[in-house]
Symmetry: C2
Subunit: 397 residues, 2 copies
Amino acid sequence: MRISDIRATRIAFSDPPLRNSWGVHEPYALRTIVQVFTDDGIVGLGEAHGGAEIIEQRRLELLGLDPFQLSVLRQRAGGAYAVLETACLDIIGKAIGRPVCDLLGGKMRDEVPFSAYLFYKLDNAVNSGVEFADLSPSETMTPEAMLRQAMEFVQKFGFHALKLKGGVLPPHDEIESLQLMNDFFGEDVRLRIDPNAAWTVETSIKACAEMERRNLCMEYVEDPTPGQDGMAAVQATKRFPLATNMCVTRFDHLGDGYQKKAVKVVLVDHHAWGGLVACMQVARVCEGFGWGVSMHSNSHLGISLAAMTHLGAAIPNLDYACDSHYPWANVDVVNETFRFVDGKLRVSDAPGLGVSLDEDALARLAEVRIRYGREKRDDATEMRRFVPDWSPKLPRW
Amino acid sequence: MRISDIRATRIAFSDPPLRNSWGVHEPYALRTIVQVFTDDGIVGLGEAHGGAEIIEQRRLELLGLDPFQLSVLRQRAGGAYAVLETACLDIIGKAIGRPVCDLLGGKMRDEVPFSAYLFYKLDNAVNSGVEFADLSPSETMTPEAMLRQAMEFVQKFGFHALKLKGGVLPPHDEIESLQLMNDFFGEDVRLRIDPNAAWTVETSIKACAEMERRNLCMEYVEDPTPGQDGMAAVQATKRFPLATNMCVTRFDHLGDGYQKKAVKVVLVDHHAWGGLVACMQVARVCEGFGWGVSMHSNSHLGISLAAMTHLGAAIPNLDYACDSHYPWANVDVVNETFRFVDGKLRVSDAPGLGVSLDEDALARLAEVRIRYGREKRDDATEMRRFVPDWSPKLPRW
């Protein structure tokens, strides 16, 4: 079995004006959809934020490879390895009649829990002419509006964990948002906040103390402040476990993260850590370090979600529900679109990832990308449409 | 595909009176050979130093398992997981027509380099009536005798790396042994010494300084002294990379080992670290930590060697030749016995491990084990046959 062709298709899909500490999401999120073809007629799928350039540049080194030779692929594909690994695992699974989770050590759970990914946001109308998912369309910039968004997520999808993307309002207002959710949902949900490094160490310590004082039902606080040293200073107060997807994101960050006691939870992400197998490896390290494991998400569609679900099914020590932006998308490139029920996704037993490409949708979204024309996500520039002197200063508070 | 039966056979095979810091090898080495049978007629093989009791006790929890469900197997098999994982990977490989290395990320090299494993030893005649491998039969307790052993290993097997099991003679005599090898082989071989924690920190530092002064061609010094703190004190002198198979042997040792800068090289061992996949994970951690990877060995036969060879083929960052006791064995339980050529073994492309059980040999060695009667290796008690007041005091020098 050999790789006979690789196709990387740049697409864009509409993404609401979600706020974060850098600025605001542009009207379209950018993704690359990868199809890997084998000489015996199998097609493997992958999805990532980018990687198309690398695949195009290294095409000749990649064609002819046996999809099982993942370590060779890693050497040759560099930064596009993760998306190609996903496609190769999809191929292997299809070739041997096994779901991808069985290639990662097997299925530890039949359903994978996900969390609501709540965002402060502008009114969808700021991007007139763009159609968005039917979800929290109005401006959401107050604790009360955020509670309404949370209620909508819980009602529609049944999430039991709520992640608030923070670093947008002054810390007091974000804590007040958590307070309203805590008051409304009580022990039915667990809360997280991710200020994306928008808080100083001092603010982070004060905010954690305040969340503790209010007895909020926090699972963890994610990246309140930049860098391992800052995180360590906050973690030293021992109020809540600190989670990260910013200061421990590569294998060469793990040792220092442990040494500095910077975090207690790592959010794995197969796109960012270099593949699904790498995330299994990170999870094993977390087990050894006594750290928890959760999962990170960027804006994505169903191929990524399928891979995330298989990974979530395979990680023995998945201690927390996984993040996913998926509810914010109103389109997909797979025929088997996903629907969260009771905040969970059922793990597919079909061979490979268990999703197939909707070729028409792919073509449509590829055209959207061409029309949109942008090549790189830039939340700060987008933010200047609304706040001309915006600067993504971190930490801000 | 389900596990329909598991057979764990305790065997013993003759092992020469090899010396180490605890004492001397008993006349027979103890192993457990595991056969895992599936309902579709595949048999997977595993070999370990023990594990038979656990397998017998947990038999009912293990039968019926799908061999792909390795993480469930890990939970159920506990300390017998590694040997069962090897057997399951053998099964998976056979079921899908792939060598085991392809289940570990693929083959990074066609031949795996091994090192000579040199031992000070007593004369084989101390165990009269036992037949040993035709290798260094006489007493080897001087630098000159050790050089003769090294010459025999290099001549017969072509090794390019020589590992001296140290901690037996006073350090000066062991360094003198290395000196004679260095003088004889020059740059054709690289040297290692493994005092098995027999040296104090002070002695280790002095010995490393002396090896440096003599300009010996040392790849690394393995476990000169006990514990991560002691190793760190030696490593701080920065003379040679320190390697370990004693102070970083579990996932929860990795963080402290990094923090203390205790070592620069980890010897993986799929029997000890909890399987072949775990060793791939450790190797990835080593890559992230900036540590080298080598491979450890205990007395073993061909099933273990097959697994070690597939692992050695799959680890991208295998920085050193692998240890193996195999030349010291004069029997095997597999039909495809191994022969080192130019110090290397060719990686099998056959499905699974690429070895099949010699049922007659297994039956013979099971009888040897029954006649021998011992259940646990005890090099110190054996040593008292020759030195009645022997105490395995570590560190000794």
